[in-house]
């Protein structure tokens, strides 16, 4: 598997650290309550198909990257800097 870092270009999977579902970009309000925080920290859609997850280009520029990928085929569909995606999600 190869991932395209928006800064460095296409690189081997070994250069990246995996952080899981890109849900981490939507941190709830501290007072949002148990259920919301449980959902954020633990519960996952865990799709068999297209998913968005967070990778860090740890062996390269260090950027956090949102990767849109297919969990059935390992096909990588899109990559974007997490800082840009986060801004657009608000």
């Amino acid at each position: 598997m190869r991932l395209t870092c928006p800064v460095c270009g296409e690189r081997d999977r070994r250069e990246f650290y995996y952080m899981g579902d890109a849900v981490a970009l939507r941190r709830p309000d501290p007072e949002a309550g148990d259920a919301v925080w449980d959902d954020y920290l633990h519960n996952r859609d865990n799709p068999a198909g297209v998913t968005r997850d967070l990778w860090q280009h740890e062996g390269g520029c260090g950027a956090w990257i949102v990767v849109t990928r297919n969990t059935m085929t390992h096909e990588v569909l899109e990559t974007a800097l997490a800082s840009d995606v986060k801004g657009s999600v608000g």
């Binding site: 995996y18 899981g20 148990d34 449980d38 920290l41 519960n43 996952r44 865990n46 799709p47 969990t71």
Partner: protein, 418 residues
Amino acid sequence: MRFSGWKVIKEGLTGNRGWSAHWRDAQPKPEYDMVIIGGGGHGLSTAYYLAKNHGMTNIAVLEKGYLGGGNVGRNTTIVRANYFLQGNSEFYSHSLKLWEGLEEDLNYNVMHSQRGLINLFHSDGQRDAFARRGNMMVNQGDDAILLDRDGVRKHLPYLDFEQTRFPIYGGLYHPRGGTARHDAVAWGYARGASDRGVDLVQNCEVTGIDIENGVVKGVQTTRGAIRAKKVGIIVAGRSGQVAAMAGRRLPIESHILQAFVTEGLKPVIDHVISFGMGHFYISQSDKGGLVFGGDLDFYASYAQRGNLPMKEHVMEAGMTLMPMIGKAKVLRSWGGIMDMTPDGSPIIDKMEGIDGLYIDCGWNYGGFKAVPASGWCMAHLMATDRPHEVAAKYRLDRFRTGIGIMDEEGTGSQHNLH
């Protein structure tokens, strides 16, 4: 049909014409008392113990593919009871005791082989941690022996003890640990359940769960609707998709774990050996193949096949530990979908808020050894609506409340850390 030594001799002398199918390939009926979704190890053992321990025989196991085609037929077959935390230790202890009587109980040769498991350690700190774990195992009533370097050398003279990266200090020896033939475990439970009247329905994928006013009514399948008073979801790596049919999200991410087998060799490795520092473990099958594996590929996946980096990592770790295997040819590699929970421990519980719906999942990469006790406890839960005492801590709400988290590895209760 009963298996016995006499039967083998008789059939051998009379052309092997007297063997019959091990279970009935049942057609689905429109209604059952209980339906089990998933014909893996855990689904089949649940059905077996529902019939055997609770007299429930109007049951169907619905399997989307063929029986035993999931993780139960893809694992590296290690059976052990070397857990540390309360909640886990009594459960796996119970499971190992069931393993020890399983072949007699099922009248089926599952090739359970208590060849001993040795977990290696490589530093003073790790020795202390293993001594503590060993004491917990002994307190639980199981067996553990702390070996120093010479003690390990006696059992495993072929390891590279002097390697500079992780010199071997000793090992925690669990003599009752070992392996079993994975397929035979699925087949044995299938046969036992089928003989007691359970319908095993293959090529029957559950596509929906019918719930009315918070009460389960049955399931939709590719072979029609089936009504049921109680439904158990026991689908390992597919738990997320099936729970979604009931409108639920689970604390589960599905990850890929790979394994490898070499060509058949003469007996060289008598034990199960685990080399935690290198993420490598190995045993030798009765056919002679070296069966080994390592860690997850570490990204969410349903592909049932892994990538090259982890293959290389596992081979490198194997060569570090035992250079003697370097010339063995790898025949096959494969992957299975692991239902990973944040704390690395499983869930056997009711689905809160939906009467008659139960879930057994979150087995991570260690659910093969759990097959007997998981079935035993899930059957108890589904039949009596109360958790079995050895599985009482496997609650689903522990993640929400933070009470009763069982982070056996001590890596932190967070996805992607186990």
